[in-house]
């Protein structure tokens, strides 16, 4: 079973990695890049929001910082790798700066606090850099889609793998214990604040990395754009629709979100957000486990049917 699982994951990765070599349709490549970006966003939001239960409404701050720092360094001539690392490190630094005081506040105050923080950055960046950032001509001349594709693929894989390793480690158990019952976890020697900060650090790091990749990918955009609250809200929506607090949930949520959004945007224009709003409310009210839970329920239902049939067919001993 385990071998089957691992080999199918390897197969998916190999298939995704060979995609640019079998198709030359740029719009397909761009769509898959978008899916990778949103998988990264959702998975990294989930490390904090799903496993520690701290709902952040301010991940746009980390995404924006990652993109801003990476863009400035990279277009300034620094190597891409170091620019990306610097971008995500700044996002982490900022996360710690806000995290240490914010985790003294419980639950909803953390949410509103992060929203306020992200808005402060959003407005400030809009004031300081009120312009469009465009790639310099020489960079534009050598622009290729392929390295962007593999960067996004790599980041998505690293984020998912890290969440998997985290969740299946001692630290991950501590993080989930804090989510379930903070006082009980503390009484067993699990430091709530340390575990929350660890999750926040990882979450901000990968979100910052995604921001950096965004800066490497886009030819021109407003510096402020990655800071706008829509990035926080999209991440939250995807994770809840997919299945909060699971590894596969954010992936399913991101794929579903991007594909449905593209489809609806073609047919409904801007109003596709109404559909997502309704979907989101329905999930929160009736299906707190998201699509993952729905799938589990369906499987259980059919599993029950099958096992019922089986018991009918097998003759009862002594009957």
């Amino acid at each position: 079973m385990r071998i089957l699982k691992i080999s199918s994951i390897v197969l998916v990765i190999v298939l995704l990695a060979s995609l640019p070599f079998v198709t030359d349709r740029d719009n397909l490549i761009n769509l898959v890049i978008l899916i990778f970006l949103y998988i990264t966003l959702a998975s990294s939001w989930n490390i904090l929001g799903g496993y520690t239960g701290q709902i952040s409404l301010g991940h746009a701050a980390f995404f924006g910082l990652g993109s801003l720092v990476t863009r400035l360094l990279w277009t300034g001539g620094s190597p891409l790798f170091w620019s990306l690392l610097a971008g995500s490190s700044v996002a982490v630094l900022f996360a710690l700066l806000i995290g240490i005081p914010a985790f003294r506040l419980k639950g909803v105050y953390f949410s509103i606090g992060t929203l306020a923080l992200a808005q402060i950055l959003n407005i400030t960046v809009g004031n300081v850099f009120p312009v469009i950032s465009s790639l310099p001509v020489d960079m534009l001349a050598t622009y290729q889609l392929l390295p962007r594709y593999f960067l996004f693929l790599a980041i998505a894989i690293i984020t998912i793998a890290s969440s998997y390793l985290l969740v299946n480690s001692r630290l991950g158990l501590g993080i989930m214990a804090v989510r379930e019952e903070e006082d009980a976890a503390e009484s067993l020697g699990v430091s709530a604040i340390r575990h929350k900060l660890l999750a926040l650090t990882l979450s901000a790091f990968f979100t910052g990395l995604a921001g950096g990749a965004f800066a490497y990918y886009h030819v021109s955009y407003y510096y402020q754009f990655p800071f706008t609250p829509v990035w926080s809200f999209d991440a939250l929506t995807m994770v809840f629709i997919g299945g909060v607090g699971t590894i596969i949930g954010p992936i399913i949520g991101a794929v579903f979100f991007v594909l449905l959004r593209e489809y609806l945007a073609l047919n409904l224009g801007e109003y596709h957000l109404i559909v997502f709003g309704v979907l989101f409310i329905l999930v929160v009210l009736f299906l707190p486990g998201g699509l993952v839970e729905a799938w589990g329920k369906i499987r259980k239902f059919f599993g029950k049917q099958r096992s019922l049939k089986k018991t009918e067919q097998t003759p009862q001993p002594g009957g």
Binding site: L117, E270, Y271, F276, V278, F280, V284, L285
Partner: protein, 297 residues
């Protein structure tokens, strides 16, 4: 300090106080709903937006000004509040406090997406303002201008505060609401219909958002995207004033208004939106019970 600044200061202070009353009013509804039901309705700003559009359309279609159409506005928003409560929020009444706050926040967030995009769909993304025959009227006192519209808005907001306080102290329903805030289990044992209290509070919150929206429509303008801006303002004011006191909330609003206009004068208009948020973070960190609230254990 140069002469220009000295001259501008009193005017700035007055504008800050007058706008602050609007912030206070926007926060009153949010604070009432949160205090009684523990619903954190982050779509409060969108309700305010709908209130603004209601007075805009009443004015453009029938020529009735926002102050005269207030009763109709209250009626419309109460109905919307009623529908939202019966359709969505009633399902979260039975959750424990922590989950109730979290889930209503999430639902409110989805709701704000829906309402904002419905507004774009029906009314386009344009800015809409109301200009009546009295819009430009202003009194000048000691060299400080008092625009009539803003003075009247201040008065309406203040009347709402007084009316709310009287309602909560003098009427049976008001007392039932206060009892529910103290301890809903004890209140329900005393024969208070807690569900009804929740419904009344939620609907009143929507109505207050409608009034605030009407005042915003004539003081500033309305567009479909204004919701989050006003929700944030209301949240900041709610935390600033501390929970449990509506007068505190109102004073918190004025405090925010004055701080914002002082920032606009001294640092620059671009930063007036930030100062409230920074203040908010500082208060959350250092005085979670609110600047004016008392410590609760």
């Amino acid at each position: 300090m140069d002469i220009y600044l000295l001259q501008a200061l009193p005017q700035n202070l007055v504008f800050g106080i007058l706008v602050g009353a609007l912030y206070g009013l926007a926060a009153l509804g949010l604070s009432l709903v949160f205090g009684v039901t523990k619903f954190l309705n982050v779509a409060h700003g969108e309700l305010l937006m709908i209130g603004g559009y209601a007075s805009f359309w009443i004015f453009s279609l029938w020529g009735i000004g926002p102050f005269l159409s207030l009763p109709l506005n209250i009626l419309i928003l109460s109905l919307i509040g009623l529908v939202l409560y019966k359709l969505i929020f009633v399902r979260m009444v039975k959750l424990d406090v922590e989950n109730k706050i979290k889930n209503t926040m999430l639902v409110g967030f989805g709701l704000s997406l829906i309402l904002q995009n419905l507004a774009i769909y029906f009314w386009t993304a344009d800015d809409r303002g109301i200009t009546t025959f009295y819009s430009a009227e202003a009194w000048t006192f000691l060299g400080v201008r008092f625009p009539l519209v803003r003075l009247a808005s201040f008065a309406v907001a203040f009347i709402c505060l007084i009316a709310l306080n009287i309602y909560l102290r003098k009427t049976y329903t008001g007392r039932a609401i206060r009892a529910t805030v103290e301890d809903w289990e004890a209140a329900s044992l005393m024969g208070i219909d807690v569900h009804k209290v929740y419904l009344i509070s939620f609907v009143s919150g929507a109505a207050l958002a409608g009034i605030a929206g009407a005042l915003v429509s004539i003081t500033f303008s309305v567009n479909p995207f204004m919701g989050m801006h006003w929700t944030l303002k209301a949240l900041v004011v709610m935390v600033l004033g501390g929970l449990g006191s509506f007068t505190g909330t109102f004073v918190g609003g004025i405090l925010l208004g004055v701080t914002e206009s002082a920032t606009a004068l001294l640092i620059g208009g671009n930063y007036r939106e930030i100062v409230g948020l920074v203040l908010f973070l500082l208060i959350l960190i250092f005085r979670p019970q609110g600047l004016l609230g008392s410590k609760q254990r």
